[in-house]
């Protein structure tokens, strides 16, 4: 039934572009909403899907190996939630039918790409879906057609192309070794064939490609510009899920199912992870632009995910997946908040803002929830995933990494507190008397996301037993 997650958005795109375009333009938002809701409800309770068998017949025409495990389920859920938030933000900020229609089309394309990435079990198909997602992202970054946006899109295209080239050459090398592109056969081939320069360079090249896609240091150059220049809804989309799926998820999947945990891979991941955490956090401390600070914070948080992965243990993996989930939720919420602030005040420069909590209490409150969750303050969700990652590191004997990672969370708290101080928590400036709370269109996604953060934090034992530990186990097995 999961092939319907690809087919449904695909058919919707086709349907939207059939004749009766005027009618379709009106329907675009609703159609996209429905597709996303179907995806979320399919993950939350799979049993509601009574038409699953019929659609699998259609699915068999697709030339892809789809398989869904717990990790994919977690990702599919995140994708649904974040795309929903992006859709609401775009709908609220831009009230032009034509542009919403264009946005929805590309959004559905990206949805196909990301759903594909998390479900395929074949390295070449993975590449194809990565490209679909990337092309969709280029278009959306340049959606507002201003100079900054084009520059950011251009930067993203160039680095993405580099990543593509690296990935393709790695796939070619792996094909030489294994003769097939499916995960399992490459994995088997790597196990049996002796260590050679060919294999290790293929692995290293592929990992580098993933690091570029995830925006990890030292490949982070494109990330801050892209996030801050892109339209609000697109920043939500990119920061919340796109870079996490194409970068972090791909790394987790490939390292797990294909390359396996070898000490050299682990130490590479640990080093890149810890550098990203520390440098990302330090860079975020120096930012005075709301969205740029969030962008650097993203680098730092993805570092934690990679660090968890680098442990190579089940617990570490579980922590990485959990943090991936939490990160997409709280970072999406923070970008929704930044969209609200940008819309109401017309700026994201934090020096020009102060004391907005008086005028925008709801935005301020949800941003506090998201910030504290990101900084790993209990009882919010981010604390538990960071705790699991730190525990995994400590148990595996990486004491230094554990200490650096946990001290970096003090830095995380420091920059989020300065964000709060500059934007929300403080005296209101006299010239900002006319600012009002953002409308329901922005408050609704913010509310849902904040509730998820709090609920996951409070009911984490349930979450961890049902989703996270199984995700770690299945991968390990």
């Amino acid at each position: 039934m999961y092939s319907s997650l690809i087919l449904l958005p695909f058919l919707s795109v086709i349907a939207l572009n059939l004749p009766f375009r005027n009618l379709m333009k009106k329907l675009a938002f609703v159609v996209c909403l429905l597709v996303l809701l179907v995806q979320i409800s399919l993950i939350v309770c799979p049993s509601i899907c009574i038409w699953s068998n019929d659609l699998d017949i259609f699915g068999s025409f697709l030339q892809f190996n789809f398989a869904v495990d717990n990790l994919s389920r977690v990702m599919l859920f995140c994708i649904g939630i974040v795309l929903l938030a992006a859709l609401f933000v775009q709908r609220y900020i831009i009230d032009d039918e034509e542009r919403i229609f264009n946005f929805v089309n590309v959004l559905l394309l990206i949805l196909i790409g990301m759903d594909g990435i998390v479900m395929v079990r074949d390295i070449f198909s993975l590449y194809i879906f990565l490209e679909i997602t990337a092309v969709g992202s280029f278009i959306l970054i340049g959606f507002n057609k201003d100079v900054d946006a084009f520059e950011a899109a251009f930067k993203y295209i160039i680095l993405s192309v580099v990543a593509t080239v690296l990935m393709l050459s790695s796939i070619a090398l792996l094909l030489i070794v294994s003769g097939s592109t499916s995960f399992s056969s490459i994995s088997d081939a790597l196990k049996t064939s002796p260590d050679s320069l060919l294999i290790s360079s293929a692995v290293a090249i592929f990992l580098c490609a993933c690091f570029i896609k995830a925006g990890l240091i030292p490949f982070h150059g494109w990330l801050a510009d892209t996030y801050s220049a892109a339209p609000a809804a697109v920043s939500v989309l990119l920061a919340g899920i796109v870079t996490k799926t194409v970068g972090a998820y791909t790394l987790i999947r490939i390292v797990n199912s294909v390359f396996g945990f070898e000490s050299s891979i682990n130490s590479l991941l640990l080093v890149i992870g810890i550098i990203s955490i520390v440098i990302g956090a330090l860079a975020a401390l120096g930012q005075r632009d709301f969205k740029r600070m969030l962008a650097y914070s993203s680098i730092s948080q993805v570092g934690y995910i990679i660090l968890g992965l680098g442990c190579g243990t089940t617990l570490g993996l579980a922590g990485a997946v959990f943090h991936l989930f939490n990160h997409s939720i709280f970072k999406t919420l923070l970008f929704v908040n930044s969209a609200a602030v940008e819309l109401e005040t017309g700026t994201t420069d934090m020096n020009g803002l102060s004391g907005l909590s008086k005028k925008m209490p709801f935005t301020a409150m949800t941003s506090v929830v998201a910030s504290l969750s990101a900084a790993g303050i209990p009882p919010l969700s981010g604390f538990w995933s960071k705790l699991i990652i730190i525990m995994a590191l400590w148990m595996s004997g990486f004491y230094v990494y554990a200490v650096i990672a946990i001290l970096a969370s003090v830095l995380t708290l420091a920059y989020f507190l300065s964000l709060q101080r500059m934007v929300f928590f403080g005296r209101l400036k006299e010239d900002s008397a006319n600012i009002k709370e953002a409308g329901l269109g922005l408050m609704f996604p913010a509310l849902i996301l904040a509730l998820i953060i709090v609920a996951v934090g409070l009911f984490f034992p349930f979450i961890i037993n049902t989703f996270i530990l199984p995700a770690g186990n299945i991968l390990g097995g």
Binding site: L315, S354, G355, L372, A375, I377, P378, P379, F383, L387, I388, I390, M391, W394, M395, A402, V403, I406, L407, S409, V410, L413, A414, L417, S418, R421, F425, G426, R427, P461, I464, N465, L469
Partner: protein, 482 residues
């Protein structure tokens, strides 16, 4: 009676109730104020209800198994119930005082929510029987104190709030590493399991050192004390809550919970911790002598007095531990009283600078007497409560033979007398220097400080009741203190 439900209510009522207060405020502001008081009083009453069980020698435990050793455990033993009663009672007085103090400021909803949540987190912390649960509540108190210190929203105030949050968070994450290292050794975060496991296999000194960093940062002990005087920018009831009654006692309590009831410290720590405490006590007492801001003086005094509590708890002698525990109560009462008096003075004269004040005893006689009573208790003048507890700490410390440490603390105690008399002299005696004729405006505020002052005296006269309870706590620690 279902004692486990009583225990659950002690924690749940303030934690959940705190979030209902903004809704109650829609009915009327007065209802909200009384609801806040009611929540805290309910918590106090429920903790009192636990006392008969403790007297009978039974601990109340709520246990539910969770994955990865994150068990949800609430344990009410004598130590926990003692702390719970002390904190909830002082919080109730502070909320009563807030009725007067906070009534003309903005953001009252946030204030009451945060204060009640703070108390709830404190209750959770004292009853927590699992290190991770303890850490969760530990950080909730940090979140609430961050909002409360920055309450007035001035840029400088928010920076102080951020500082307090960051310093305590720094300590807390190191402490968390210590907890994880204990987990690695014992395979559980559950204190009961840890207690059994460490009997044969003592906890590593590294873990203890890391946990001590957390404790010292929360209890504002040198070198992590600087956030506490800065936090004096908060509203006075908040400083009373943070500095005197509850927040700084968290570190002390966790010290007692871990190092006195769960596992014992190596001999080395019985000297090291008192030395750190002694330095902290003398340095901050010196700072208190130089300051001119009344709230900063009292804040430094807190840093100094916490040193005495640490001396009592760490020197490794039963009498000293009893004195340290009693001093948690007596210092809480007296220091809360001092801060609340400072709040009355600040609101009525619009200044916190003691060199600009004088002669207030004529216009504010009740406040002056309350201040004097509380100051006597902190100084350790008989028959006030502070005297007995300080005496027991000193007597116990002398028995262990660390005479130099005792001498250092005697100097600290002498300095305490000096700086408190200096404040009293400058603020209340002499000629009135302020042009404004200050009056004790709010009867409810004056009543609350009077209650605290009287209790400081009564606590000393009827010292045998709290002392009896402390004996039960000591019985639980048998085998861990030499």
């Amino acid at each position: 009676m279902r004692y486990d439900l009583v225990l659950l209510n002690t924690v749940l009522i303030p934690v959940a109730g705190a979030f209902i207060l903004p809704l109650v405020a829609r009915i009327s502001l007065k209802t909200r104020d009384f609801a806040a008081l009611g929540l805290v009083l309910a918590s106090f009453v429920f903790s009192l209800l636990l006392i008969p069980q403790i007297m009978a020698g039974r601990a109340v435990i709520i246990f539910s198994q969770l994955p990865l050793g994150f068990n949800f455990v609430l344990t009410a033993d004598a130590l926990a119930v003692f702390m719970a009663c002390v904190s909830s009672f002082i919080s109730a007085i502070i909320i009563l005082y807030s009725f007067g103090y906070i009534s003309h400021y903005e953001n009252q909803n946030e204030y009451y929510t945060m204060v009640v949540l703070f108390l709830g987190a404190m209750m959770g912390l004292v009853f927590a029987g699992n290190l991770i649960l303890l850490y969760v509540f530990w950080e909730i108190t940090a979140i609430t104190s961050w909002r409360l210190i920055g309450f007035f929203r001035e840029k400088k105030h928010v920076i102080c709030a951020d500082k307090a949050f960051l310093v305590t968070m720094f300590g807390a994450v190191l402490m968390l590493i210590g907890f994880i290292s204990i987990f690695q050794q014992t395979g559980s975060f559950d204190l009961a399991v840890i207690k059994e496991s460490v009997k044969t296999n003592p906890v590593s000194n590294l873990a203890i050192a890391l946990i001590l960093v957390g404790i010292f940062s929360k209890s504002a002990t040198l070198p992590f004390h600087t956030w506490l005087p800065d936090a004096g920018v908060a509203p006075s009831p908040v400083t009373a809550l943070l500095h005197a009654a509850i927040l700084v006692k968290i570190g002390v309590y966790v010290f007692a919970r871990l190092f006195l009831t769960t596992f014992s410290l190596a001999q080395f720590w019985h000297t090291a911790v008192p030395i750190i405490a002694a330095i902290s006590a003398i340095v901050s007492a010196g700072a208190a002598l130089r300051e001119t801001d009344i709230k900063r003086i009292i804040a430094y005094s807190t840093v100094s007095q916490i040193g005495f509590i640490f001396l009592g708890l760490s020197i490794g002698n039963e009498l000293a531990v009893a004195g340290g525990l009693l001093y948690i109560l007596m210092h809480g009462l007296a220091k809360a009283g001092l801060f609340l008096c400072a709040g009355i003075i600040e609101q009525n004269t619009k200044t916190k600078d003691i060199t600009k004040l004088g002669g207030l005893i004529k216009t504010m006689p009740v406040t002056a007497m309350a201040f004097l009573f509380c100051a006597f208790s902190v100084m350790g003048i008989p028959p006030f409560g502070g005297f007995f507890s300080k005496y027991m700490v000193f007597a116990g410390a002398v028995e262990t033979g660390h005479l130099w440490i005792v001498f250092a603390f005697l100097v600290g105690a002498f300095l305490t007398i000096l700086y408190l008399f200096r404040v009293f002299n400058l603020v209340f005696l002499g000629e009135a220097r302020s042009l404004i004729q200050a009056k004790e405006k709010s009867p409810i505020m004056v009543t609350s400080v009077a209650i605290l002052a009287v209790l400081s005296l009564v606590g000393g006269i009827f010292i045998n009741y709290p002392c009896g309870f402390v004996q039960i706590i000591l019985a639980n620690m048998a085998g861990i203190i030499k």
